[in-house]
C-alpha cells in the first residue's frame, strides 16, 4: 500500500543484510550526519513521475498525490542524501542537486509565517524540495553544513577521475572487501572526531604550558615520576573509597525499592562511572545501546561475507569468540574493539534478528557465535557418516582369512568389522572447524546419544553409540 508521495519517486536505497546503508565502498563513500523527524515536501506544481523501477502498483492517474512525507530519518553521505522511513529507504544523489550555491539554502525561522526551519533543496531531476526540520534550528544547521560541504567537495567526481586514471596505470584495487568497511569508517568518523577534540585540547594545553614543561622534562627523573604516581594513587584511593560508599548506599536503596524509575538520577552517575571504566552493580546491561547495536550490525555484515563462517559461502556457521575477535579486529586494522564491546554487541544479535547468536556450551563454558541455520544434529550426522566410511575402508583392509581376501577382492564387506573412532583433531579436519569447536560438536553428539567415547592415554576417541 504505497503512498504516492515524493519518497516513492526517488530511487530506492539498498541496505545491507543487517539494515545498514549499503554505501559505495569502492568510491569511499562515507556517512557524515544523520538526523530524524524531518519532513520532505515537494514544491513541484504537478505530481512527480513514478520511476518504472519502483515496482509499486501506483497508478499516477488514480492514486492521490501527496506532496509530503513526514517523520523521516535523513542521512547525508559524501555521495547522496538518504531518506528513510521505518519500512523503506530512498535516496537522492548529490549530482542531482543544482551545482551552484542555490542548490541548498536555509530558510524558515520567520516569526509569523515560514516558521519552521527548512532547507530548500533544488534538484535537477525531481524539482524543488523542502526538508523541514521538526526538531529545530540546530539540526537544520548541522545538516546544512554537512550537505553544503559535501556538495562543494564533489567527492564522487574525484573518485571517478582518479579511478579511471588508476585503471590505465596500475591495477585498480577493486577487491571485494566488504561494504562494512565504509560503514565502520562512519562510526570511526564519530569516534575520530572525539579523538581529534581530545588531541586539540591536549595540543592547546601543551602549547600553553609547553615552554615551561619542556624545561621541566629533564628535571623530572624516574623517581619523581613514581612519586607522582604514588601521590595520585593516595588521593585517588580516598576519592574512590568515598565513591564506593555512596555507590553501596545507592545499591542498597535500589534493592529496597521495587520500582526502577528512580534510576534517573543514578543513571547519570552510573554513566559517568561506566565512562571511567568502573563497573558496579548499578550499571545495568546496556540493552539497546546505540553503539553496540551499530557494532552488532557491522560484525554480522562482516561475518556474512566471511568464507569460513557463513554457511552460504561454504563455511560451517559456527566460530569461537576468540576467532571472531581476531578476525574482526584484523579486518578493522585500526581502532580495534575490546572484548567487552564484542560480547555486548554479540549479545544483542539475537534480539536484533541478525541471523546469528551467542551460545555457551554447558560443560566446558566455551562461547561461540553460531548462525541460525546451524544445527548440532547436522554436525552429528556428518560425523557418523565419516565414521561409517572409515569403518568400511578399514574393514575392507582387515583381511584375516582367505575367504575374506576373496570377499574383499570382489568388493564385498568382510566378516571382521573394525571399529574406528574419531578424535577431535580428525573431526576438525572433516567438519572444517577448529579443534576446540570439533571437540564441542563431539561432546554434543555424545549428549544427544549419537556417539560414545573411549578414553585412553592416546586421547579420546568417539565411536558410534551401539548401546542405544
Amino acid at each position: 500500500m504505497a503512498r504516492y508521495s515524493p519518497l516513492v519517486t526517488l530511487p530506492k536505497q539498498t541496505l545491507t543484510e543487517s539494515g545498514l546503508l549499503a554505501l559505495d565502498s569502492s568510491d569511499s563513500e562515507v556517512q557524515l550526519i544523520t538526523r530524524s523527524f524531518i519532513e520532505l515536501r515537494s514544491l513541484s506544481p504537478i505530481p512527480l513521475p513514478v520511476p518504472a523501477s519502483a515496482a509499486t502498483n501506483i497508478d499516477p492517474n488514480t492514486t492521490p498525490w501527496s506532496d509530503r512525507d513526514k517523520d523521516l530519518t535523513v542521512t547525508v553521505t559524501t555521495h547522496r542524501i538518504v531518506f528513510q522511513t521505518k519500512s523503506s529507504s530512498h535516496f537522492l544523489h548529490h549530482c542531482a542537486v543544482l551545482p551552484n550555491e542555490d542548490g541548498v539554502q536555509a530558510t524558515g525561522g520567520g516569526w509569523t509565517s515560514n516558521r519552521s526551519y527548512k532547507i530548500h533543496l533544488q534538484s535537477i531531476t525531481h524539482g524543488d524540495f523542502y526538508m523541514i526540520f521538526r526538531s529545530g534550528q540546530k539540526d537544520r544547521d548541522a545538516v546544512l553544513k554537512q550537505l553544503s560541504q559535501a556538495l562543494k567537495r564533489r567527492q564522487w567526481e574525484e573518485a571517478y577521475n582518479s579511478s579511471t586514471s588508476a585503471k590505465m596505470g596500475m591495477h585498480s584495487h577493486g577487491n571485494t572487501q566488504t561494504s562494512y568497511q565504509t560503514t565502520s569508517v562512519g562510526i570511526d568518523a564519530i569516534l575520530k572526531r572525539n579523538q581529534d577534540r581530545h588531541d586539540r585540547a591536549k595540543k592547546l594545553t601543551q602549547d600553553a604550558f609547553g615552554k615551561g614543561a619542556s624545561s621541566h622534562k629533564h628535571k623530572v627523573s624516574k623517581d619523581d615520576k613514581s612519586k607522582e604516581v604514588e601521590t595520585l594513587f593516595r588521593e585517588a584511593k580516598e576519592l574512590t573509597a568515598i565513591i564506593h560508599k555512596y555507590v553501596a548506599t545507592l545499591e542498597k536503596d535500589k534493592r529496597n525499592q521495587s520500582n526502577g524509575d528512580e534510576g534517573e538520577d543514578t543513571t547519570e552517575l552510573t554513566d559517568m562511572l561506566q565512562d571511567m571504566g568502573m563497573i558496579t552493580a548499578l550499571t545495568k546491561k546496556t540493552a539497546g545501546d546505540q553503539y553496540h547495536e551499530l557494532l552488532a550490525r557491522q560484525i554480522s555484515d562482516f561475518l556474512k561475507q566471511n568464507r569460513k563462517f557463513s554457511i552460504r559461502k561454504g563455511g560451517c556457521g559456527i566460530m569461537t569468540l576468540t576467532d571472531v575477535y581476531c578476525l574482526y579486529n584484523r579486518a578493522r586494522g585500526a581502532n580495534m574493539i575490546s572484548p567487552e564491546d564484542l560480547l555486548e554487541a554479540l549479545g544483542q544479535m539475537e534480539a536484533l534478528k541478525l541471523g546469528m547468536k551467542l551460545r555457551e556450551f554447558e560443560d566446558t563454558h566455551v562461547k561461540v557465535l553460531q548462525e541460525t541455520g546451524f544445527d548440532d544434529s547436522v554436525m552429528s550426522k556428518k560425523l557418523l557418516e565419516y565414521i561409517d566410511e572409515k569403518e568400511k575402508e578399514k574393514s575392507k583392509e582387515n583381511i584375516t582369512s582367505v575367504t575374506d581376501g576373496f570377499k574383499a577382492f570382489f568388493g564385498q564387506s568382510t566378516g571382521m568389522k573394525v571399529y574406528v573412532g574419531v578424535t577431535a583433531l580428525e573431526a576438525a579436519r572433516v567438519l572444517k572447524i577448529s579443534p576446540i569447536l570439533a571437540n564441542e560438536q563431539l561432546l554434543s553428539a555424545e549428549r544427544s546419544g549419537y556417539l560414545c567415547r573411549d578414553v585412553t592415554v592416546e586421547g579420546t576417541r568417539f565411536f558410534r553409540n551401539l548401546f542405544v
Binding site: 579523538q195 576519592l239 565513591i243 559517568m272 565512562d275 569468540l321 576467532d323 586421547g459
Partner: protein, 248 residues
C-alpha cells in the same frame, strides 16, 4: 490494648515516618550529588595525570604497568570500552592489537605444545617476527606484563585463554582444559630439570604416589602438552612449553 498506631499518637507516628522517609530522600539526593561531585573530582585527577604522562605511558612499559596496577584496586579499568573517557590514551587499541597477535601466536603453536606456552616465549616469537605496536603514535616496546594484561582481556571470550603461574614463570593456556595444582607442580619439576623426566623422577622429587603422578601425566599427555619418549625401555616425558631456549 492497641499500641503504637491508635489515636493521636498513631497519627503522630505516621507523620514522623513520612518525615523520616522525606529526610532520607533528601539525604539520598544530597549524597547522590556529592557522589557525582566526587566522581568528577576523581575523573579530573586521573585525566590530568594521564595527560601529563601520556608519552611516558606510551614509551615506558614499566610506567604503564604501574599506572594500570594503580587503577586496578580503584576499580577503574581504562581498557574496558572504546567510548570511555580513556580513549584519548589509545591504550585500548594497543592492548587489543597485542591480544590479537598473542592469540595468533598461541594458536599457531598449539600443535607443538598442546596449548600451553610461557609468556617469555610468546614475547620472543613476537620480537622475532618483528611486530611493532603503536601507542599514541609512538612505536612502543612491550613487556611481558603487557602480554599478560592482553591475555586477561581475552579470558572474557570464553575460549579458554588464561594465565597460569608455574614457579617463577607465567604461562599462557589457550585451550579450555582445566589444569589443577598437580599439573602445575609437575610442570614446575620439568622447568627445573629442563629435559626428559620419568614418572619415578617426579614421584621422588615431589613425594607423591605413582598413581597420582600417572593421573596428572595422562591428562597432560592426552591434551598434547607433553611428549612421550620411549628410550632404553624407560618412558621419558618432555615438556615443550618449558624449554628455555625454544625457537618457535
Amino acid at each position: 490494648m492497641r499500641r503504637g498506631r491508635a489515636g493521636i499518637g498513631g497519627l503522630k507516628k505516621k507523620n514522623e515516618e513520612s518525615k523520616f522517609s522525606k529526610k532520607a530522600e533528601e539525604i539520598k539526593t544530597s549524597s547522590l550529588e556529592s557522589a557525582m561531585q566526587t566522581v568528577k573530582e576523581l575523573e579530573v585527577k586521573l585525566r590530568n595525570f594521564a595527560e601529563t604522562h601520556q608519552s611516558s605511558i606510551a614509551k615506558d612499559p614499566a610506567f604503564r604497568q604501574k599506572f594500570l596496577s594503580m587503577c586496578a584496586p580503584l576499580g577503574v579499568d581504562p581498557l574496558t570500552s572504546k567510548k570511555s573517557f580513556w580513549s584519548f590514551l589509545n591504550m585500548g587499541s594497543f592492548y587489543h592489537e597485542l591480544a590479537v597477535k598473542v592469540a595468533e601466536v598461541c594458536i599457531s603453536s598449539r600443535s607443538k605444545n598442546g596449548g600451553i606456552m610461557s609468556v617469555k616465549e610468546v614475547k620472543n616469537v613476537l620480537v622475532k617476527r618483528g611486530t611493532k605496536f603503536r601507542l599514541n603514535e609512538v612505536v612502543t616496546k612491550y613487556s611481558e606484563d603487557d602480554i599478560i594484561i592482553a591475555i586477561e582481556k581475552l579470558t572474557k571470550l570464553g575460549s579458554g585463554f588464561k594465565t597460569l603461574k608455574v614457579g617463577e614463570q607465567m604461562m599462557v593456556v589457550s585451550v579450555p582444559t582445566e589444569l589443577d595444582n598437580d599439573h602445575v607442580q609437575i610442570i614446575q619439576v620439568a622447568q627445573d630439570t629442563q629435559g626428559g623426566i620419568t614418572k619415578s623422577m617426579i614421584a621422588n622429587t615431589i613425594g607423591w604416589s605413582e598413581d597420582r603422578v600417572t593421573r596428572a601425566i595422562d591428562l597432560l599427555l592426552s591434551e598434547g602438552m607433553i611428549w612421550l619418549d620411549l628410550y632404553e625401555g624407560l618412558e621419558y616425558y618432555w615438556f615443550p612449553s618449558v624449554w628455555k631456549d625454544s625457537t618457535a
